[in-house]
């Protein structure tokens, strides 16, 4: 797994690529937490999952803990561009009900630009 980050219109975009499984989940979680709780807190964190090929329950846990930290900090935390297999894991686990998921980065940006729901 590789994780890139970009800054876009004051928001942090986290871009995981590859597999978030048991062995890479803690590293991924640390990256998400850095994005949420960095010295200069962003208005929102967008996780662009276009290159995320695989996620297991260990990966879901990382998303859950980061989303919770963002909620406590008052930062929007949204996902976009999930591949079908990853989307299935989010849907089956009920996570797509507690974390907002958008079809692509533009839709996610539009949402976070409107401020908290």
């Amino acid at each position: 797994m590789n994780v890139g980050t970009e800054t876009l219109a004051g928001h942090t975009v986290v871009i995981p690529a590859g597999r978030v499984d048991f062995n890479s989940a803690s590293e991924f979680q640390a990256q998400l937490e850095r994005a949420v709780g960095g010295a200069r807190a962003p208005a929102a964190v967008i996780v662009d999952c276009a290159a995320l090929e695989y996620v297991s329950s260990a990966g879901l846990r990382a998303f859950l803990l980061a989303a919770r930290a963002a909620q406590r900090a008052g930062i929007a935390f949204v996902l976009c561009a999930l591949q079908p297999a990853v989307r299935e894991v989010f849907d089956l686990s009920g996570f797509s009900r507690i974390i907002s998921v958008y079809p692509d980065r533009a839709a996610a940006l539009t949402h976070v630009a409107q401020g908290p729901p």
Partner: protein, 137 residues
């Protein structure tokens, strides 16, 4: 019927090797990629469950994984020589809980149940045996 079997020590570092075994089997059987990913998740969840739970200090389990492709679909069986434990007895997580209330654990076995068409547990000759079948469209 096509069948293949492998065995590894019950430690997290073995997960990539097990995944590669599964991928190789599925690719030689020309299974669709989406189905393969479903089995990869199920394999990780069940294997890590064995690794994380119920192993006494200083002991290590041996985990055997077998794959069988039949007219019915693909069946994956995970066996280990640890103390008897039926993961299917775990209560399902509350998938309707809010973000703040959602428990962090307990999702793995739940996911496996949702993804597979049939899941069963048996204690056979002192070993835990978890069998998962998914029909292939």
């Amino acid at each position: 019927m096509r069948e293949q079997r492998t065995a590894v020590p019950g430690e997290a570092a073995q997960l990539p090797q097990l995944t590669a075994f599964l991928q190789q089997f599925c690719s030689s059987a020309a299974l669709p990629a989406a189905q393969v990913l479903t089995f990869e998740v199920a394999l990780e969840e069940i294997f890590m469950n064995v690794v994380m739970h119920g192993t006494a200090a200083g002991t290590q389990r041996r985990v055997e994984v077998s794959l069988a492709l039949t007219d019915e679909g693909l069946t994956m069986t995970v066996e280990d020589d640890g103390p008897g434990f039926d993961p299917l007895s775990l209560p399902p997580p509350d998938v309707r809980a809010s973000l703040a209330e959602r428990p962090v654990g307990g999702l793995g076995v739940f996911l496996v149940r949702q993804m597979m068409d049939a899941v069963s547990y048996a204690r056979v000759a002192g070993r835990n045996q978890l069998r998962m079948t998914k029909h292939l469209a």
